[in-house]
């Protein structure tokens, strides 16, 4: 007869596999029968389970909000220019340059106000935003799939420039998925589909000095639709703020 300790050793690695649902049915039945009769292995199973719980309790902060922007910058360095530059060159941000501290302070104020106002607008009037295609954010619950990453979408520019619609392109509009419902605070989709959103309210921006416009558009945090949706505020900020180069 096999001594009890030998039996326990025989099942040792199976305890973990049981927690991971990796045991074949027959083997699982054998292990369960053993567990019914072995308090020592039951205690060990509890300890292993506790270890998993402890591990899962470790706090891990979510991704930084600028992670997509940093990814975009690295892709741009790879030669994948941001789509906005390709699709709307008129509004493309100018090359960054050295700015005096006062200008940076002005830009920071403008960005803060605009972002706050944008947040409020998004919370209250999501339908007034320029049309964008919301992408499905949750992975499929495929057969056998145990992986279920949470949606991590944040409002940003596209990461990669759209490929031009070449003849024979396999990409068809029908292949696009319908907008998926999103949580109210999930913000807008990362991707603004090409062609870019219409710009019905850009006229007032054109009255701004080129320098002001360039500054606003060169701020990474601002997106076209944010600026468009906040023209009044933007104008007030610009009217009150020091002009770059003035004085």
């Amino acid at each position: 007869m096999v001594p009890p300790s030998e039996i326990c050793r025989h099942f040792e690695e199976d305890l973990s596999a049981l927690l991971d649902q990796e045991l074949p049915a027959e083997r699982e039945a054998e292990l369960r029968a053993h567990l019914d009769a072995c308090p020592s292995c039951r205690r060990q199973l509890e300890r292993l389970c506790d270890a998993d719980l402890a591990l899962a309790s470790l706090p891990v902060p979510g991704p930084a909000t600028d992670l997509p922007a940093r990814m975009r910058a690295r892709l741009a360095a790879e030669g994948a220019a941001p789509a906005r530059q390709a699709a709307a060159p008129r509004r493309a941000a100018p090359a960054r340059r050295q700015r005096p501290a006062r200008v940076l302070a002005w830009a920071s104020l403008a960005a803060s106000l605009l972002l706050a106002a944008t947040f409020l607008l998004r919370s209250t009037e999501p339908s007034t935003q320029a049309p964008r295609v919301a992408r499905e954010s949750a992975p499929p619950a495929g057969e056998g799939s145990r992986v279920a990453p949470p949606p991590t979408g944040t409002p940003q520019e596209p990461l990669v420039a759209r490929a031009p619609a070449a003849a024979g392109s396999r990409e068809q509009p029908a292949a696009r998925r319908p907008p998926a419902p999103r949580a109210p605070d999930a913000g807008t989709a990362l991707v603004a589909e090409a062609p870019v959103a219409p710009e019905p309210a850009t006229a007032p921006l054109e009255g701004l000095a080129d320098e002001d416009l360039a500054l606003l558009l060169s701020l990474d945090e601002l997106e076209d639709y944010d600026v468009v949706a906040n023209l009044d505020l933007l104008e007030r900020v610009v009217a009150k703020g020091p002009r770059p180069g003035a004085g």
């Binding site: 690695e13 305890l15 973990s16 596999a17 927690l19 991971d20 990796e22 060990q44 300890r47 292993l48 506790d50 270890a51 998993d52 402890a54 591990l55 899962a56 309790s57 470790l58 706090p59 891990v60 902060p61 979510g62 991704p63 930084a64 992670l67 997509p68 940093r70 990814m71 892709l75 790879e78 789509a83 992408r135 499905e136 954010s137 949750a138 992975p139 499929p140 495929g142 056998g144 799939s145 145990r146 992986v147 279920a148 990453p149 949470p150 949606p151 991590t152 979408g153 596209p158 990461l159 990669v160 759209r162 490929a163 070449a166 392109s169 396999r170 990409e171 990362l190 991707v191 589909e193």
Partner: protein
């Protein structure tokens, strides 16, 4: 693309379909993949490295490698398995650096604590929880790197042993052993902490 994805991977995998679409020139598919997987990948790498800034760098590096490999991508497994394999290799390389080892040995990890709510637990409970958390980090740090990766991928990220085997480039049998040794070591160390 969907049929090709199913035919090659054997199960419906939306991510494989997206990757094939990206290979065919659909840039938005890449964005969707980044949107879906940057968070889980960061969580995994942060636990592997205990350094959020480096974990974020490696998330970008992993997706950069996906971007570069798009033309020669062949769906031989789930996209996520491939992605975790890239990330694991990056993490293991990073862990070989002296700086990263030093970070693991120090206890200076910003846990990104949330502000206390009105019904926040008593201070003693907070201190106890923090001490417990630190003990878990320490126990995790002392695991051999492959054991740590196997346990994180299996127990936390939900990969099957077969998927972990692909990610770690070992056999499934080895994964079963790695996961169990990691888990039982962790359990023993945490039990020891609890008794001390």
């Amino acid at each position: 693309l969907k049929q090709e994805a199913e035919a090659t991977v054997g199960v419906p995998d939306e991510d494989v379909r997206l990757m094939l679409a990206f290979r065919a020139g659909d840039a938005a598919a890449f964005e969707t993949l980044f949107d879906r997987w940057s968070g889980p990948l960061l969580r995994y790498l942060a636990r592997m490295l205990r350094d959020l800034a480096t974990a974020e760098e490696l998330v970008q590096e992993a997706f950069l490698r996906v971007y570069r490999a798009r033309d020669r991508y062949e769906p031989e497994a789930r996209f996520s398995t491939w992605l975790y394999r890239i990330a694991t290799n990056l993490a293991l390389n990073e862990l070989r650096r002296p700086r990263q080892r030093a970070l693991w040995r120090s206890a200076a990890y910003d846990e990104g604590e949330a502000p206390l709510a009105a019904d926040a637990p008593a201070l003693d409970d907070v201190v106890d929880a923090r001490r417990r958390g630190e003990a878990v980090w320490r126990a995790l740090a002392e695991l051999p790197e492959k054991q740590r990766a196997a346990l994180c991928l299996s127990a936390l990220e939900g990969l099957s042993y077969a998927e972990v085997a692909v990610a770690l480039e070992v056999t499934e049998k080895a994964v079963k052993s790695l996961v169990h040794r990691a888990r039982s070591t962790l359990a023993a160390r945490l039990a020891g902490e609890g008794e001390s």
